[in-house]
């Protein structure tokens, strides 16, 4: 492994970056690539590109972009990535280490499918589908058209959702039929590889009635120093009584620009839980729309972030209660060091007729330096009766007594700090009832602090 990496680095240095990528994304999707897709999708992509061009660039005066460093969104340097060599694909495959036991696995690098570990025969017989998006487009056109980007990008990034739609050419399609439980998680890797590469990851998850599935996505950079741009969209659909768990482990390098737009819908008695772990990126924006469309639906929105250096995390959420007797519970915890920034803008909206709703929103920021900045903008819009809602955002420092307790046991300051930060985040991570994933998430967070 080590030797291979060394050789790879040498090869990279010999070639100029230009040879490593295709046309700039701002010049529009290339015709050659579109030719591989069906005509109706081609048309949809062209329309999306027109939308991208017509929508205004984000402005801080717009509430949806308030406190955001919109200047980080200059896309001029990013380009469609070049095809990976077999050697590069093998190298990435070797580094795609995640969970030990999975139901199936897809690995993408620069939006190219590097590996597909199919589902077991048993699962295939139950009718579960796990395939690249471009295949689903052909083979399951109805399902695809019904759910693909069916929810509006309502949290500010309509322009980037359009960009995604214009460029998306790979991703994951998962369908779990009625009553089927997929015990082990489905695992997806997205790697950024080439210098200034732009990728458009997409996961379309449809859990039919009374089915159950867990999906974990890893976002990683092959190279620690290369810049790259990821503009992803996920559609997560929980049918009546279905249960979905979605985990995102965002661990891009600290040069990456990342925009991720997720939409979850939970139908009658469905429950959807998402845990988003944000560790990487220079600027990383995460928009999460959770729609409770059926009576008795429940949504848990969990996120943690650890920022160091000059990283900026920007989260925008909407808990949209459409039906009565629905529950949503948001818990976001952020640890900020150095000169980092975190923005949270969240709205609980209880639509007319969505009576007997319970909606909670809690944001906690742990400020570990005087120069770190956290801005939280919680919001409520209640148009129904008999509603239980609470929201709160707080920022605080490490508790002195807790710190003294650890020091008094001989634990050195940096380790004590690390323990307290991880302890702070654990309240969120522990909500996920999945030991293997919890361990993996904890390891990622610990690794962020460097080797001990």
């Amino acid at each position: 492994m080590t030797n291979q990496t060394a050789v790879l680095d040498e090869v990279m240095e010999l070639e100029s970056p230009q040879e490593h990528c295709g046309p700039a994304i701002l010049s529009g999707p290339s015709v050659a690539r579109e030719a591989e897709l069906p005509g109706w999708f081609h048309d949809q992509q062209r329309a999306a590109w027109a939308k991208f061009e017509s929508f205004p660039f984000p402005n801080r005066k717009d509430q949806a972009w308030r406190f955001s460093s919109v200047e980080a969104l200059d896309l001029s340097r990013y380009a469609q990535p070049a095809r990976l060599t077999q050697f590069e694909r093998d190298e990435i495959l070797g580094r795609s280490v995640g969970l030990d036991a999975v139901a199936g696995r897809l690995i993408f690098a620069d939006d190219q499918l590097v590996r597909r570990d199919p589902l077991s025969e048993t699962l295939l017989k139950t009718g579960v589908l796990l395939m690249p998006l471009e295949r689903a487009l052909l083979e399951h056109e109805d399902l695809f058209r019904k759910h693909f980007m069916a929810q509006p990008a309502a949290l500010g990034s309509a322009k980037f959702a359009a960009l995604h739609e214009a460029f998306v050419n790979s991703g994951t399609f998962i369908y779990v039929p009625r009553g089927v439980e997929v015990e082990l998680p489905i695992e997806i890797f997205h790697w950024l590889h080439g210098e200034n590469a732009a990728v458009f990851p997409h996961t379309l998850l449809i859990a039919d009635e009374f089915s159950k599935v867990t999906v974990i996505e890893h976002f990683r950079s092959a190279h620690p120093e290369r810049s790259g741009f990821a503009c992803g969209v996920n559609d997560l659909v929980a049918g009546n009584g279905a249960k979905i768990n979605y985990i995102c482990a965002q661990n891009w390098n600290e040069k990456a620009l990342s925009i991720q737009i997720n939409a979850t819908t939970a139908d009658r008695d469905a429950s959807a839980l998402s845990l988003n772990v944000h560790l990487g990126g220079a600027y990383s924006r995460f928009e999460s729309l959770s729609r409770l469309t059926g009576e008795g639906a429940r949504s848990d929105l969990l996120a943690v972030s650890v920022a160091n250096g000059t990283q900026e995390f920007d989260a925008r959420t909407l808990q949209d209660h459409v039906s009565p007797h629905t529950t949503s519970d948001l818990l976001y915890k952020n640890a900020l060091t150095d000169r980092t920034r975190n923005t949270f803008g969240g709205l609980i909206r209880v639509e007319p007729h969505a009576h007997f709703t319970d909606a909670y929103q809690t944001v906690r920021n742990l400020l570990l330096s005087d120069d770190a900045e956290a801005n939280s903008m919680p919001g409520l819009e209640i148009l129904a009766d008999n509603v239980k809602c609470s929201h709160g955002a707080t920022s605080g420092q490490i508790n002195e007594d807790e710190m003294f307790y650890l020091l008094a046991r001989g634990i050195p300051l940096p380790i004590a700090k690390q323990l307290l930060i991880i302890g702070f985040l654990n309240e969120v991570v522990d909500r996920l009832q999945h030991p293997a994933i919890t361990d993996l998430v904890r390891e990622l967070i610990e690794d962020k602090f460097g080797p001990r």
């Binding site: 003294f404 020091l407 008094a408 046991r409 001989g410 004590a416 323990l419 654990n426 309240e427």
Partner: protein
Amino acid sequence: MNRLSISNLRVSIAEQEIIRGLSLAVPKGEVHAIMGPNGSGKSTLAKVLAGHPDYKVTMGEVLMDGEDILGLAPDERARKGLFLAFQYPSEIPGVTIANFLRAAVQARLPEGEELEATDYYARLYEKMDLLEMDRSFTSRSVNEGFSGGEKKRNEILQLAMLEPKYAVLDETDSGLDIDALKVVANGVNSMRGPNRGILVITHYQRLLDYIVPDHVHVMVQGRIVRSGGKELALELEEKGYEGYDEVKDEVSEPAMV
């Protein structure tokens, strides 16, 4: 040399002097008890020894085996062999006892040496058995949601795991019922030995029936006003601290200077 020795210590917080010229020495191999009324400064003394940043030492010195420790950071003092069992142990949400103690034990290993997990857990379970603690405790967050008694047991578990040279136990008996008190005392007694000095701070004599001290000191208004053998504890139990009010007035004078 082989002692924790405090001489002429003066400590204040928020311009108020709490420890007012206190001297005391705990040699290795001995157990000393400090008794005193509430507010006399016992916990302040304990926390100052451990290096709490809120308190200001204005005079005096504290030597551990001859080395002045007042200039050391709290974690350095602890690694050199000082231990404080807190009167009110902090709750540390999200940090399990196993991970917490592991970090503390790891911190005492030489640079570059990794803690051996199997040995660590074997030792941890052995000490937990001694303190009649259920093994499920290891995966609970430190002190979070613990009863008063569980917190105190957890302090003694740490004492047993970290094997300090000098241990200061601040009101380790408070919040314990008689059964828990015996278990905790048993744990402390198992730590007695020629290589360890122990300073037990208590408000009540009760604990000293089970942890029998070699010496007893009475602390009033930030000073040791009387020292004696273990009988002194019984005398205090009978008569209370009232007789020391006069002493209090006497000693408060020079502190005003």
